[in-house]
């Protein structure tokens, strides 16, 4: 990266360290922090949307919709994460390719499943075989986001359903007596009031989601844990920067990162709780009112 780093074997001390920490591999490591942050930023709202949909479906008057909502939460919550990540992603990937295969290659005669092999026509490959590597990575990332959202959406559905039931019945009945329709009651009374009940459960989920990001590597996305392991491993002189096993230091770095993430989240969630409690008919809401009164 820098001109003085051209020949690492002549460097020592801080110069060596400076060059070492700016190698292409380390730059990839630094970018992977962004990958994790983007994953969190993208997954959280989608998971919340899945959860909201699931909770609404589970409360629905229409029986099939209700079964769907309840079934979704029960099934996904019951399956271990790691099984889900190993099985579901492959199934999703193959289902997409299989569907595309049916559309694009109707004349294909070879079987798609040959023993353990799964082979669709080249036009149906997602992403196409000749696509640049970043497209493959983006696709892997999209699969990861979908899987995370589906898993955490199921837990969120359960939390939100509980929160919806926790809103005092009197609030809803009052709204009905004002002549609001069911949809109006839901939108104007139930949803604004349920968040304060949902927040403890949702903040738990958020913390678990932060810690679950190393599962990314199972999905072929090179995340911070992968790079920490790769960079920290002992390097012989085959490499430009030989060093003994430094995994401890890299993992200490990750520890600090994850602790910072959870600390920042705690502060943000604490503020959000205060904000959502304002004017609510809860004990905390009442306490706030007294202070201001």
């Amino acid at each position: 990266m820098f001109s003085q780093c051209a020949d690492p074997s002549t460097l020592d001390g801080l110069n060596w360290l400076g060059c070492y920490l700016t190698t292409g591999k380390h730059i990839s490591f630094y970018w992977s922090f962004l990958t994790v942050l983007v994953l969190l930023a993208v997954t959280a709202p989608i998971a919340l949307a899945f959860g909201f949909g699931g909770a609404m479906a589970a409360r629905s008057q229409v029986a099939p919709l209700r079964w769907l909502g309840k079934g979704y939460a029960a099934m996904v919550r019951g399956v271990p994460d790691i099984v889900f990540f190993l099985f579901f992603v492959i199934a999703l990937d193959q289902a997409l390719e299989w569907s595309l295969h049916q559309v694009r290659c109707p004349d294909w005669t070879e079987p798609i499943r040959q023993g353990l092999e799964f082979k669709v026509c080249p036009q149906a490959k997602i992403p196409p075989g000749d696509a640049p590597q970043w497209i493959h990575q983006l696709y892997g990332f999209a699969l990861a986001v979908t899987t995370f959202a589906l898993v955490f959406g199921a837990f969120a559905a359960n939390v939100l359903q509980g929160a919806m039931q926790a809103v005092p019945r009197a609030q809803l009945e009052t709204a009905e007596s004002y002549g609001m329709t069911a949809a109006q009651v839901f939108r104007r009374i139930l949803v604004p009031q349920m968040w304060v009940y949902a927040l403890p459960g949702l903040s738990n989920l958020w913390m678990i989601l932060i810690k679950a990001t190393p599962l990314l590597f199972l999905l072929g996305v090179q995340d911070i844990v992968y790079w920490a392991k790769e960079l920290g491993g002992a390097k012989t002189s085959t490499f430009a920067y030989p060093h003994p096993d430094w995994r401890l230091f890299y993992f200490l770095g990750l520890l600090v990162f994850y602790l910072c993430m959870t600390k920042v989240s705690e502060i943000a969630l604490g503020r959000l709780t205060l904000r959502l409690t304002r004017g609510q008919a809860t004990m905390a809401g009442e306490a706030q009112r007294r202070v201001h009164a």
Partner: protein
């Protein structure tokens, strides 16, 4: 001007379609000197240089993909990449699930490395990378097998005393033992294992396998393969 640009764009597009198919080369990227991710973040090593040369000779465009050793065969079968070029020994067991090209490295020796020369190789705890022929050998030898996801972690287990010795390809262990400053030494006899190292392909990809077989034969014939082996695996490595 606009027409010219359009024409050029059309030309570029059709040329792109006509160009050779892209072959995705799957490797572990954690097994120096065979394959590793270098400091620039690119796949490097004996197999990188060999693979690029084979692709050039076969007229293929190749891209490199890094994949965990553990899931390297299933991901080939589900089509995430088209070849495995990751220091994989040709064995009967693996031949049942994937096809191999002819070997591009002759059968190599596996060896034990330990912290002291007097360890018990038959009854002690031996570390090996999971899913390798060495792990299979340790399991049969009667020693307690300790499996790790990467070769590097298996070596680390010996350094921190978790295992008595590590069993792996001698080519992989040699630089580690040489540079350990005497902390790690070779013990016991070398063990010849496997039928050499070859490229793994899906059993249905016979045309691709033929192309690589032809290219490997050509490199064996004109001696370039031997030059590569000596360059990366050392003067003492067996050649063709």
């Amino acid at each position: 001007m606009k027409k010219l640009i359009l024409g050029l764009a059309a030309l570029a597009l059709t040329a792109g379609l006509a160009a050779a198919q892209t072959v995705r080369m799957g490797t572990e990227g954690a097994y120096p000197p065979y394959n590793f991710v270098n400091d620039a973040g690119e796949v490097d090593g004996f197999e990188r240089e060999l693979g690029d040369e084979l692709c050039k000779r076969a007229g293929l465009t190749c891209t490199w993909v890094v994949n965990d050793w553990d899931s390297i065969i299933p991901n080939l079968q589900s089509g995430n990449y088209d070849t495995i070029i990751a220091g994989m020994s040709i064995t009967e067991e693996r031949k049942k699930v994937i096809a191999f090209t002819q070997n591009y490295v002759p059968p190599t020796a596996s060896a034990y490395v330990a912290a002291s020369p007097d360890v018990d190789l038959k009854g002690g705890t031996i570390a090996a990378q999971t899913g390798t022929i060495q792990a299979g050998h340790v399991a049969e030898s009667g020693a307690t097998l300790l499996e790790f996801a990467t070769g590097d972690e298996a070596v680390a287990a010996v350094r921190n005393g978790e295992a008595d010795a590590v069993f792996a390809d001698k080519d992989f262990l040699r630089p580690i033992a040489d540079e350990s400053g005497g902390a790690l030494v070779f013990v016991g006899e070398d063990v010849p294992l496997g039928g050499g190292i070859g490229m793994g392909l899906r059993q249905s990809d016979t045309a691709l396998k033929d192309k690589f077989d032809t290219a490997i034969s050509a490199m064996k014939a004109d001696g370039t393969l031997n030059t590569l082996i000596v360059k990366w695996l050392g003067e003492t490595a067996p050649t063709f």
